[in-house]
Subunit: 470 residues, 2 copies
C-alpha cells in the first residue's frame, strides 16, 4: 500500500519543514516504531510539525502522494493505535506541546496535542485546578493521545472520562482542511457533535491540533479505604451498597488474588498491608472540600463493610502518606505483573458495574483448566476490568491457549451486556473481535463515517475495523 | 419533494399496522403539525408504531417510496425540529412509551422514546433515584425528544446534559436497518461514539427506538439562594467567585430586569419577593446528602454576595416551600413573557460562562435603538441565554427589526466565542445562521456524515443545514 515515492515526498516536505523536523534514518525512526504493546512497525519517514499550518501542509501533501499517515503522541497506548502498520508517514505531535491558555474565569484550558498530561496537571495546580482524566501513563502520555483514546482511569467513576471534558477541538482532515468542532462553551447543540465523534476515534478521522477542555477546582480533601474480601460476589454487593447510600466515590478499584500476590512479591514494603489469602481487594476513595461530608462518607463506607458478609478486613488511611501507600499497591499492579518476566495478552473489557466480579469468577474458572496464568484488576466503579494473560515467552502452545482464553473472555463480556474495550481503544489488539460485538450493519455504518472524513483511507489505516468483514 | 404516491404507501402500511395506528384525516393530523414554536406544517400521513419492528418496516417502506419521514415526540421543541416541513410521513413515537427496566443494581434505566420525562421521574422517585436532565417541558416532552435535542435545563451546570447520561441507543436507519450503539456500560471506546453522535442530532440521522441511561441517587438536601444585582458585570463576578470557591451548584439561573418585571406583573403573589429596579436576578441552588456540607456551601455563597459590590440584596429560602416560590419566579418567566400578548423570536445562544452578562449588556444596548422589546434569562452557570424578542402581532416593520436584532445577537455571540444554540437545537429556527458559526468545510463534513446515515436525505429533511450553502 505504501507509496513508492517516499524520496519525492520528503523533497517536497523540505520546502516547508526544517531538517530537524524530518527523521528518515533508521535509528532515529526506531524511537517512533513502538508503544506500550509489544508490537513494532517501522515508518518510512517521521515528521515533527510545530504548528497546525504545518500539519495541514503535510496532510495535503501526503494525500497527493497517497501516503498512509499515522498520528502519534507519547506512545503509551495499550492497543497499538499509534503504530504505523503500513509504514508511510508517522506524524508525531510531540513538538506541539504548548499550554496556550489557562482561563481561570471560565475554568477552561487550551492546549496543543503534544502537552504531557502530568505537565498540564503541574501547571493547573498553581491555579488550584485539575484535569480529572488522569491515565496511569500520565508522565508520558500526551493530551492528544488521551483525546484520541478517550482516556479514563481511576477517577472516571466520579469525574467521567476525557470526552466529558473536551469542549472544543481544532483538527486537520486527511486532505489538509482545518476544521473547528465545538469551542469554548460548556453546552453546544449546533449541528452534529464532532467533538464527541473525534474524541476516542483513535486518530482515524482527523489529526487533532488544538484541544479546549474544561477543568475543575482541585478538591482539598480525600479519604481512602481498603477492603479485603473472601468472596468475589461481596465485591459486587459492596459497590452497589456504596452507590445506593448516595455516595459517589472518586475511585473504586479492584484487584484479584493473583494481582494481590504479585504486588506482595514485587513491593516487599507493602506486604504488611496486603492479605495474600483474600479473593479480592477493593480500594475506595472519596473526595471533596468539606471535612465533615468526606469524613461522613468514609465512615459510612466502613460501616457498610462491617455489615457485609464476605469482607474480611477494612482499613482507612489515616493520612495522605498512608493513602499514597495504598495507591502504590494499585498503581504497581501492572509493573508487578510485567516483572514476572512472561509475555502477555491484555484485555480491557467493560461490563455493567454489578457484573464485574462475576466476569472475574468466569475468567478464573476458564483459567483453571489452562497452563497460562491470569490476573485481573481494574475500575470496579465503572465495571472496567484489565485482564492480563501471562504465557511463557516463545511458548506457542501457551500463546494459543492465551488467545483461546481471550476469545472466551470477549464472548462472555458481550453476553453479559459488556463491551470489548472501556478505555484502551480497539486499535490493532481488539479489532479482530469487533464482529463479536457489532453487526455487519453497524460496522458498515462506522466505515461510512470513516469515509466521510477520510475517503482515501490514508489516516491511521488498519485500526479499529476487522481485516475481513465482507 | 413529497411522493405523489401516498395512497399506495398507506395501503402497504395497512398490511402490518392497525387502523388506529394510521392517521390520514385532516383533523387527526392537525394534532401533529405543530410544536412550541409558532410554525405549522401538515404531514400527509401520521403513523404511530408500537415497536421497533414496526418502525423498521415503516422506514423500509417509506424509503422505497422516497417519502420524507419526520420523527416526533411530545412536540415541545423550540426550534421546529419535529415539524414535517416537506409533508410526507410523521412518525410519532408517542405510543412507544414503556419504561422497560429500572436496574437499581447498575443504576440504569431502559426506556422507549415515547416515555414522558415527568412520568419517568415519578417512577424513579420510588427507587430514590433521579434522571438529572429535566427540561422545563418535562410534563409533556418525551425521552426520545430529549435525546434528539440533547436537552439540558437548570441542573446542567452540575449534572450535565442528556448526552452525559445516555449509555446506549437502539435506532432505526432510514433504510429500516436496526442498529445498537453503546449499551449498558458506563465506559465504552469500541469504535466511534454513535451514542454521542445520535444524541442531539435532531432526528436527522436515525429514529431512536430504545434508550439506555444512567441515573443517580436523588440528593436529599437542597439550599436555594436569590440575589438581586444593580450591575450586570456583578453577575459575572458572582458566578466566577462561586466556582473559584470550589462550589458546584446544581443551578445558577439568571433573569434580566425586563424578565423580573414581567414576572412581577404575571405573578402578583411573587411581587414581594422581587426587586423591580434590579438589573439582574441570580438564583443559586446547591444540593447534596450532607446537611453540614450543603449548609456550608449556601453560607459561603451568601458571604461571597456580601463581599461583592453590585449585589443589592441576597436572601435564602428557609424551607422547601420558600425554595419553590423562588423557583416559580424562574419557571414562569417564559409564560409571563408570552402572556404579554406579543409575537416572539427566540434565541438560545451560549457563550463562555463569564461572558454571559456582557452579552446581555450588548443585547440591551442594541435594543434601546429599536421598537421591539427584549427579555433575556437563562442558565448563567452554563453561559446559556434565552433571548425573547417581542414584536407586535402582524407588525412587519417590527418583525424586520426583530430579525435584524436576532442577526446582531448571533454575530456577537460567535464573536464572543459562543454558539448559536446551547440546548434548543438548530432545527428550522437557527439553520440560516449556521454559516456565521461554521465554515463551508465544516458544514460539508456534517453533510457527509448525514449522507453516511441517510443517503437519500429522507429523514427529517430541511433541518440543521442552511438552505443555500453552495
Amino acid at each position: 500500500m505504501t507509496s513508492k515515492n517516499i524520496p519525492d515526498f520528503i523533497n517536497k516536505v523540505r520546502e516547508f519543514l526544517k531538517e530537524e523536523q524530518i527523521v528518515t534514518d533508521k535509528e532515529g525512526m526506531s524511537h517512533f516504531c513502538y508503544d506500550a504493546t509489544e508490537m513494532r512497525f517501522m515508518p518510512d519517514v517521521v515528521l515533527l510539525p510545530y504548528s497546525t499550518e504545518e500539519v495541514s501542509k503535510i496532510m495535503k501533501l501526503a494525500n497527493t502522494f497517497d501516503l498512509p499517515i499515522t498520528p502519534q503522541g507519547g506512545r503509551t497506548g495499550l492497543s497499538g493505535g499509534a503504530l504505523p502498520v503500513q509504514g508511510g508517514l508517522v506524524l508525531s505531535l510531540l513538538r506541539m506541546n504548548k499550554i496556550c491558555e489557562i482561563d481561570t474565569k471560565n475554568m477552561q484550558i487550551v492546549v496543543e496535542p503534544g502537552v504531557i498530561a502530568a505537565d498540564l496537571q503541574e501547571e493547573l495546580k498553581k491555579h488550584n485546578l485539575f484535569f480529572p482524566p488522569d491515565p496511569s501513563s500520565t508522565v508520558e502520555s500526551t493530551l492528544g493521545g488521551n483525546v484520541a483514546e478517550n482516556a479514563g482511569y481511576t477517577r472516571a467513576v466520579k469525574y467521567g472520562v476525557t470526552r466529558d471534558y473536551v469542549l472544543g477541538l481544532e483538527a486537520v482532515l486527511p486532505d489538509g482542511e482545518i476544521i473547528h468542532a465545538g469551542g469554548r462553551t460548556v453546552k453546544n447543540v449546533t449541528g452534529y457533535d464532532l467533538v464527541a465523534l473525534l474524541t476516542g476515534s483513535e486518530g482515524t478521522l482527523a489529526v487533532v491540533t488544538k484541544i479546549i477542555c474544561k477543568v475543575l477546582p482541585k478538591p482539598a480533601i480525600r479519604k481512602t479505604c481498603i477492603m479485603y474480601l473472601n468472596d468475589l460476589g461481596a465485591a459486587a454487593d459492596l459497590v452497589v451498597a456504596i452507590f445506593s447510600a448516595g455516595i459517589l466515590p472518586c475511585a473504586i478499584e479492584f484487584m484479584d488474588n493473583v494481582s494481590i500476590n504479585c504486588v506482595a512479591d514485587y513491593l516487599p514494603a507493602a506486604e504488611s498491608l496486603l492479605r495474600r489469602e483474600a479473593a479480592a481487594l477493593v480500594l475506595v476513595e472519596v473526595d471533596g472540600n468539606h471535612e465533615g461530608a468526606t469524613e461522613f462518607e468514609a465512615r459510612r463506607i466502613m460501616d457498610l463493610c462491617t455489615g457485609l458478609s464476605g469482607v474480611i478486613e477494612a482499613n482507612r488511611a489515616e493520612n495522605d502518606e498512608q493513602a499514597e501507600q495504598l495507591w502504590r499497591i494499585r498503581r504497581d499492579t501492572l509493573p508487578a505483573l510485567k516483572a514476572k518476566g512472561k509475555d502477555h495478552l491484555e484485555a480491557d473489557v467493560v461490563v455493567p458495574r454489578y457484573q464485574l466480579p462475576f466476569l472475574v469468577r468466569f475468567i478464573q474458572e476458564c483459567a483453571t483448566a489452562k497452563t497460562v496464568k491470569v490476573a485481573t484488576f481494574g475500575h470496579a466503579g465503572d465495571g472496567n476490568l484489565h485482564v492480563t494473560i501471562q504465557y511463557r515467552k516463545r511458548n506457542f502452545a501457551e500463546l494459543d491457549e492465551a488467545h483461546e482464553l481471550l476469545g472466551e473472555i470477549y464472548r462472555k463480556t458481550i453476553e453479559m451486556g459488556g463491551k470489548l474495550t472501556g478505555e484502551h481503544g480497539v486499535g490493532i489488539t481488539a479489532k479482530d473481535y469487533m464482529k463479536i460485538q457489532m453487526t455487519p450493519a453497524e460496522i458498515s455504518l462506522m466505515k461510512r463515517i470513516k469515509h466521510a472524513f477520510d475517503p482515501k483511507g490514508l489516516l491511521n489505516p488498519e485500526k479499529i475495523f476487522p481485516d475481513n468483514d465482507a
